[in-house]
């Protein structure tokens, strides 16, 4: 949480963009056998080490103007956190440059440098000093920080006696006491309870209104949409798309098929500002790459997957609680004894959410030769906000699959309730009484 020195003597507040990233490349060298001891190094002289270069960011360029809130989204491993660490000056670029005009406050982790053996007050002092506050300012803010964290009566309690929630509150209250110029946030909101998350969002909103520049790494597309006016979509370490949030989220995330675009090795194709690949026009009909056998040898081939909404139209956007039908189109090319289909649903984080198959539901699939279709009818969508990926497979009851498409298809669910979490639970609040509890 340190003022990173502006690259210019006078930051020129009004004119210069807050962050300018030019042709940024970051490689990590990953030795197969890491040499950290002297002995290993001496041995290594005779036995040159084998290592791999792993390009995390490749020729990334973009500009963040003063007062912008930029959402940085992308799959796991697309280089989002590395990018923030480079901007925060914790890591150094392999090539390219980063120009920062203003004081950076990184929220890469809350409570950095917190010590268990110190009291709340002492920890606030240390943490505030790390953020560059002077002694006078710290003393002046002490009461309001404790109050915001709701820990006034615990001022002299040692940190180790605090619950993790209390620690996070203390850390956040300390971190936000001074308005930052450029704020870097790395999924800090993923911690803490609902109340705390809301409090964080309120503070960030306030910062945004005050013109604080924010860079915001998140998996949560709905908060990016609510919160960021610009979005940077990273894929395979390159800028896949950059621009107005709504445009990026709609065009590239909600409608693009989730597969990584096949990129040539060491690709530099994905340049800033020029989304190299047009997304597939219709997510449900994208033709996947071969599963196991060459296309023509497959006895059964899955030809398409469609998501059908309550109006009977193919769509990729759904609302929690609505019905949905997943239609699998396939072609039976040779006579087969038995055929089952399975569908597996994953969320954005790759978490396995649900799987079902025709065998489990005692459904007999039409396996007569020709072009066929099969529906999985979902009465109501239980998931709340998020992007979901589908794996579909066609297989005999035992043995290798005829065909499968791994996470080839995706749809987006948006909620219309204030509830949050992974899925909706059918529930209500009530007074205790006869007829309410399930037990006695």
């Amino acid at each position: 949480m340190f003022p990173r020195k502006a690259t210019e003597k006078d930051p020129g507040r009004s004119a210069k963009p807050a962050v300018v990233v030019r042709n940024l490349t970051k490689e990590f060298v990953i030795p197969h056998e890491r040499k950290t001891t002297l002995f290993e190094n001496i041995r290594g002289v005779f036995q040159p080490s084998v290592y791999e270069k792993f390009v995390v960011l490749n020729d990334v360029s973009f500009t963040v103007d003063r007062g912008d809130s930029l959402g940085i989204v992308g799959f796991n491993g697309s280089g989002k956190s590395t990018l923030l660490k480079l901007i925060a000056n914790i890591l150094r670029p392999t090539a390219g440059s980063i120009e920062v005009n203003g004081r950076i406050t990184p929220f890469l982790e809350l409570g950095v440098g917190f010590q268990n053996d110190l009291t709340a007050r002492e920890n606030i002092e240390v943490y505030s000093t790390m953020m560059g506050l002077g002694d006078g300012e710290i003393k002046k803010n002490m009461d309001s920080v404790l109050e915001f964290a709701g820990l006034t009566q615990f001022r002299d309690t040692k940190l180790k006696n605090f619950s993790s929630g209390m620690q996070v509150r203390l850390a956040f209250a300390t971190a936000i006491q001074r308005r930052p110029e450029i704020l870097l946030v790395d999924e800090v909101l993923a911690v803490g309870d609902m109340d705390f998350q809301k409090k964080c969002l309120d503070v960030f909103k306030q910062f945004r209104e005050q013109g604080v520049t924010m860079l915001f790494v998140s998996h949560d597309l709905s908060s990016v949409r609510k919160f960021c006016n610009k979005t940077l979509l990273l894929r395979r370490g390159g800028v896949y798309a950059f621009g107005e949030t709504n445009q990026i989220v709609d065009r590239y995330i909600y409608s693009a098929k989730p597969r990584e675009p096949p990129a040539p090795a060491g690709n530099g194709a994905e340049k800033a500002g020029s989304p190299a690949r047009a997304p597939a026009a219709n997510p449900g009909t994208a033709r996947p790459a071969a599963g196991q056998l060459p296309e023509e040898q497959r006895k059964v081939a899955i030809t398409a997957l469609e998501f059908i909404d309550k109006h009977g139209a193919a769509s990729s956007n759904f609302v929690t609680g609505d019905p949905m039908t997943i239609r699998v189109r396939y072609e039976v090319r040779q006579v087969i004894d038995a055929l089952d289909f399975s569908i597996t649903i994953y969320n954005e984080a790759g978490v396995y959410c649900y799987a079902t198959d025709t065998q489990a539901k005692n459904y007999t699939v039409d396996r007569t030769a020709g072009k066929r279709a099969l529906d999985l009818v979902i009465g109501r969508i239980p998931m709340l906000d998020g992007v979901y990926y589908i794996t579909v497979a066609a297989a005999p009851p035992s043995g290798d699959a005829y065909d499968w498409h791994e996470k080839e298809y995706s749809f987006v669910v948006q909620k219309e309730t204030p509830d949050s979490g992974l899925f909706e639970i059918d529930c209500r609040w009530a007074l205790p009484g006869p007829g309410n509890g399930h037990g006695r």
Partner: protein, 256 residues
């Protein structure tokens, strides 16, 4: 290095906090920082007075104690610094500030502890009836030279330790050897005639201890020469240490 001045508030805070935490869960607390050198002193005093090595040294107890405390500062400063980067991965990976801050703070923690020890040494002087002279004004300068030397060595070993973790095991051995190769228990006179012992007079810690003993307990020594030589070595060491540190610093975020 000049930019470090901006971070003096943080340096002080980390140094004071480390001092607090170091003795947090022990009953005697910070008293341990005093008891440790005193106990070493008593053991060595008994052993070496018994061995009669030091008949020639006037005020041997004070001579010995000042040697232990003076050396102790260098030993602690480098010892604390050794782990100052690798033991704080949380800070190094999640937040930016010049990493030198951590090393300077570690040396400062050692300095604070040693200052208390030097104050206690003052008491011992009074008890022994040795009154300080006006020469005592030179003492802070000697301490500054020692601080510079320790900081130079610390910058080198703290950053090397990030890429070569062996340093943390080698360094205590180096310090142990240093303890015996520096005139702490003995004076340089007794080494006369021993082959290659002349090398030891180039030990800057020897010059620093000699200067301290000169200004505090009046032991004859070529003060200006000692100070000049020690200052020169300290400045050179600081430059070398800092170069090594700056060279390795970009890797800290990845290797810690």
């Amino acid at each position: 290095m000049a930019g470090i001045w901006e971070y003096r508030g943080l340096i002080r805070k980390i140094a004071v906090t480390d001092l607090k935490i170091r003795y947090k869960n022990s009953v005697l607390g910070i008293l341990w920082s005093l008891l440790q050198p005193l106990m070493t002193f008593i053991v060595l005093l008994i052993v070496f007075t018994g061995l009669m090595i030091n008949r020639s040294i006037e005020n041997y107890p004070l001579y010995l104690l000042l040697g232990i405390i003076g050396w102790g500062f260098f030993d602690k400063a480098t010892g604390f610094s050794l782990g100052s980067i690798v033991n704080k991965p949380q800070l190094v990976k999640k937040i930016y500030f010049p990493r030198e801050v951590l090393v300077v703070s570690a040396c400062l923690t050692a300095l604070m502890m040693s200052l208390i020890e030097f104050a206690v040494f003052g008491l011992f002087m009074l008890i022994a009836g040795v009154m300080p002279t006006w020469m005592i004004v030179v003492f802070p300068a000697i301490l500054l030279i020692e601080f510079t030397l320790a900081l130079g060595v610390s910058l080198a070993i703290a950053s090397l330790n990030v890429v070569l973790r062996d340093i943390q095991w080698i360094w205590p051995v180096v310090m142990q050897a240093g303890f015996f190769l520096t005139p702490i228990l003995y004076s340089m006179d007794i080494l006369k005639g021993i082959p290659f012992a002349w090398v030891l007079q180039y030990n800057p810690m020897g010059s620093i201890l000699e200067a301290m003993r000169h200004v505090l307990i009046g032991r004859p020594a070529p003060l200006l020469f000692d100070l000049g030589y020690a200052a020169l070595v300290a400045a050179a060491m600081l430059a070398i240490g800092w170069l090594i540190f700056v060279r390795l610093e970009p890797r800290f975020g990845e290797e810690v």
